[in-house]
Amino acid sequence: MLRTHGLRVDPPNRSAIGTLLVLAAACALLLPVSPLSAQDFDLEAPDDVETPRAEPTAPSARNPLEEAREHMERGQALYGAGRFIESAEEFLRAYEAQPFSAFLFNAGVAYEKVDDPGRAADYFSRFLQTDPQAENAGKLNARIDRLRGLSRAREAELAAEGAAQGASGANAASTLAELEAARSRLAEVQQQLAALGGKDSFKSLLSVQTTPTDASVLVKGANGDVVYRGSGPKFTQTLDPGAYVVEVQHPKYTSISAPITVAPAVVNVVLAEMSQGQFLGFLRVQTDAPGANVYVDERAAGALGRTPFQNPVKVGKHHLWIEKPGYQVVERDIDIGVGEDPLVKLELERVDYGRIRVVASHPEAVVYVDGKRIGRVPIETDVKHGKHRVVVSAEGMKNWKEEVTVERGQATPLRVRLRPKMGRKGAWATAAVAAGFLGAAIATGVVGKGLHDDLDKDVSAGTLQSNDSRRKKGEYFYIASDVGYVIAGGMAALSTWYFVRDPLPDSEGRVLQPRDWAFNSSLAHPRVRLDNSLARPRARFDADVAPDRVGGHLQVSF
């Protein structure tokens, strides 16, 4: 069986597959490439990242036999809980799903138990009408008679009681006498009915499905006599609980047989695979989180299906792996007998790590988690559950930072729109001019200082003249230096303003709700490079072919 995911398409024939393939190719070729841009990047867009979806469990698509089995089992459980009327109703629902006489019989048993002889007799009668060849039919007819008699006797008693209550004078005596007679009759019928026995004995159902479908089916009793005979594709027989042997014959294959113990009120489904020469059981696996992959005996062979899982498997011992992305793998050993359909119900536990999935508006954006570079977007990485600091950055763009809480076994998508940084060329140019003026100020200051020092020396030497031109010169250099400092200071302040000024909006991002992921990976290889489906369109088609269906899955992403 091929693995399927996504929407299941069930075209009626193989030609539809080809149509789909052509359609997919046409979409891939004709649809324009849409380069990712900030304008195109919508933080509020619905989350279009692939997530696994649970297999839908539409009641209308369920196997009728399985439905009937469920009703049968529920009916038995209700009977055991003393809820007989509800039990009867379940058996009747089972009959509606699959019109097998056993269900009618069991409904009659339930009505008999709830002391509704009339209804019980009705359903027993219908049973015999449906299955006139049923075992112990004569005994059952007698029972029906007794039940009807009991019903009538009850009605008579009720009537006599009513009459007795309303009688007066001379009539009172006669009505009382009639009442006594009715009660006596009732007790007698009850004794007769009780003597028949078998009140709580339910009937069961045996269904044998063969491959190939034209195989013959023999049901033998404990003594080896054939009690039932029939042929495929589905052989279904009401029988009493007990030990039997089921034998399947086909001229092209070796006959196969196996003993089976039929329990009361049970629908036994036996699968016979003639080419393998063996019977199959029906394995059912249910998990609280549906959609888990079920592997039987060999992981490398791939999953046999997903939960809620029901699939024929060989009779015998099996090892199961039930695995769902985001959950811890569960292993089980199971032993399936012929006709058995064991149910494995599990509560899956999430793994202790989660996943961060980042897409961004800039194709060169890089993701850092807790300071460690993870890679370019779009990207997905496994991280320990808990809080993590995520930074998305790109050249020339403002960083986006967020503390993200990662849930166990779930992926947290992040959509980030990076916005450009404010250009700093003007700031740098201004800073350079400021540096230039500062340098000039320092230079002229140094020259002025030199002149001052020279003048000082001349004063000490007694040679400085009051009209020495170096005085004015030095003054001018110092003034120039002061002016240079002022301008440098002003330019530095302006440059600082240019550096910090940022009228552009910040980068923004959205942390979406955590959700289950589709692919498993281990923490040892945490980074998964997703398809760059956000940069260009991609089309993918998965075919789904099975004996009972043909379909496929088309995925086109942009």
Partner: protein, 499 residues
């Protein structure tokens, strides 16, 4: 935010470091205005003639109860005159020059106006109030004033500051002085020292023969001031030759008597007047112990006649200075030639005649000798300046530069070569002592290496607190220089620069 904080801190750190390293205060250069040991007085803007400082004098006065000292300079006649504040009682500064007679047209009406400057203490021109700190600026006129002595050919101006308006030199009183042919008169003189209520001047005058350029008709005069503020005509001082009993000025060949006239009080309070007669290679020394004005000038009596020590000393007496060097109260006489001009150019002949050599009695002969041997004032190479060919002695001044109570001789050498600049000029300062001058302790001041600057063409002493600062002109570059040897402010390191 972190980036902003980093940015601001970095900027502040850099600026602080830079400003602390190289300094940012342009006011730092203001200190040099006051601390420059050499104050420079540049030619005033309106001074259009070259050779600013060719004539230069200094004087001190008490103006508005404040002791001040001024520098007055001209470019030689005829020219404008500039006054510099120089010292205002607290510090020596560059001055905004105060100019009189800025219009050369106006000044040129007086021939040789500005050719001589004679400072004196007090002048009181009548109802204009007392004037102090005055300068007599003699000038020539081709035509004597009508009604004046026809012999008087000159007219001068007295310029003074006042109590009410210091530094206001605009008021002047015209004086009619000196007689002569009214042409080419050159004056030299001195103002009478303080202590007198009224001003008085003694000045010499001679004339130049237009053809031969010989000096003749030399005389010296007393210009006094009447108590009513008027200025009577200058009176010739008739210094009598004891031998002939005739005034020296009336001799057949007076020559250039009065070429230089200087005077100073001796320890006895008598006014010692020295009058040079370079044409005769001698200096006449007289004494006046009367009161001026008032006492007749014939009380100026000859005491000595100093002739050149060497047999042939042309120009002896062209440079004449009187002042006390030894500190004994008797002024010494310094007599020399002008080594910068004339046939004696390049020959140095400067002598000091100790004040103690002044004869105590009036002369009885024509030229009685000085009673003390002359000391030759030799130039000693100093501070890298060579005396050779420097015209050492071209100008003379006396002042107490090192504040030891003894006069120090300031000698200009305008032809000295400095730093390769020929005739850049230098000024020697020779300290005085109880025994006279100490040339070996000379200091040579230089201010420029510009060729032809002729620093030292004129020298003077600018009185400040208790010291005198050497002042010298450099007419070749039109600047005056005051060399600050006095520590006027604490920490100023110029105290031992000169001496």
């Amino acid at each position: 935010m972190r980036k902003l904080r980093t940015h601001v801190l970095a900027s502040l750190a850099v600026c602080s470091l830079a400003s602390s390293t190289v300094g940012c205060s342009w006011k730092a250069f203001d200190e040099f205005e006051e601390s420059a040991p050499i104050r420079v007085h540049e030619q005033p803007e309106k001074f259009t003639l070259p050779n600013y400082g060719k004539v230069m004098v200094t004087y001190s006065a008490t103006i508005a109860d404040k002791k001040v000292s001024r520098i007055v300079a001209s470019a030689g006649g005829p020219s404008s005159i500039a006054f510099a504040r120089a010292w205002d009682g607290s510090h020596v500064s560059e001055s905004a020059p105060l100019l009189y007679c800025s219009s050369t047209t106006e000044c040129q009406t007086e021939r040789d106006f500005g050719a001589a400057l004679i400072p004196f203490e007090v002048w009181n021109p009548g109802d204009l109030g007392e004037r102090r700190g005055c300068v007599f600026v003699p000038g020539n006129s081709t035509k004597p004033e009508s009604g004046s002595d026809p012999r008087l050919g000159g007219r001068g101006i007295v310029l003074c500051e006042t109590h009410e308006s210091p530094q206001d030199f605009t008021l002047g009183q015209a004086l009619v002085e000196a007689r002569g042919e009214g042409a080419n008169l050159v004056y030299s003189g001195f103002g009478l020292p303080t202590g007198h209520e009224l001003g008085a001047l003694i000045f010499g005058a001679y004339s130049l023969d237009n053809k031969s350029l010989a000096r003749k008709n030399g005389e010296f005069y007393l210009q006094g001031q009447a108590r009513d503020g008027t200025a009577p005509p200058a009176v010739p001082v008739l210094l009598v030759d004891p031998a002939t009993q005739k005034p020296f000025s009336e001799a057949a060949d007076a020559g250039d008597l009065g070429f230089q006239v200087v005077g100073a009080f001796d320890r006895a309070g008598a006014l010692v007047i020295a009058v040079s007669q370079p044409s005769h290679q001698r200096v006449l020394v007289a004494v006046f112990d009367g009161e001026l004005p008032g006492d007749p000038v014939d009380k100026i009596r000859l005491r000595a006649c100093i002739e050149a020590p060497d047999a042939d000393s042309p120009g002896f007496g062209e440079r004449l200075l009187i002042g006390d060097v030894t500190g004994d109260g008797d002024p010494e006489l310094f007599i020399g030639n002008d080594p910068a001009s004339g046939p004696q150019q390049g020959t140095q002949a400067l002598f000091m005649f100790p004040g103690s050599g002044l004869p105590l009695t009036d002369a009885t002969e024509t030229c009685p000798p000085w009673n003390a041997a002359a000391d030759a004032v030799k130039c000693h190479d100093a501070d890298g300046v060579s005396c050779k060919g420097s015209a050492f002695g071209a100008s003379l001044a006396l002042g107490d530069v090192n504040a030891d109570g003894k006069g120090d001789l300031i000698v200009g050498a305008p032809f000295a070569t400095v730093g390769g600049g020929q005739q850049a000029g230098a000024v020697w300062v020779i300290p005085g002592s109880a025994t006279g001058l100490e040339p070996e302790r000379s200091t040579a001041l230089t201010v420029t290496s510009s060729a032809m600057a002729r620093y030292g063409f004129q020298v003077a002493a600018l009185h400040t607190n208790d010291r005198d600062e050497p002042v010298a002109s450099a007419p070749g570059i039109n600047e005056l220089f005051v060399s600050m040897c006095t520590p006027l402010e604490a920490g100023f390191g110029g105290a031992d620069l000169c001496l």
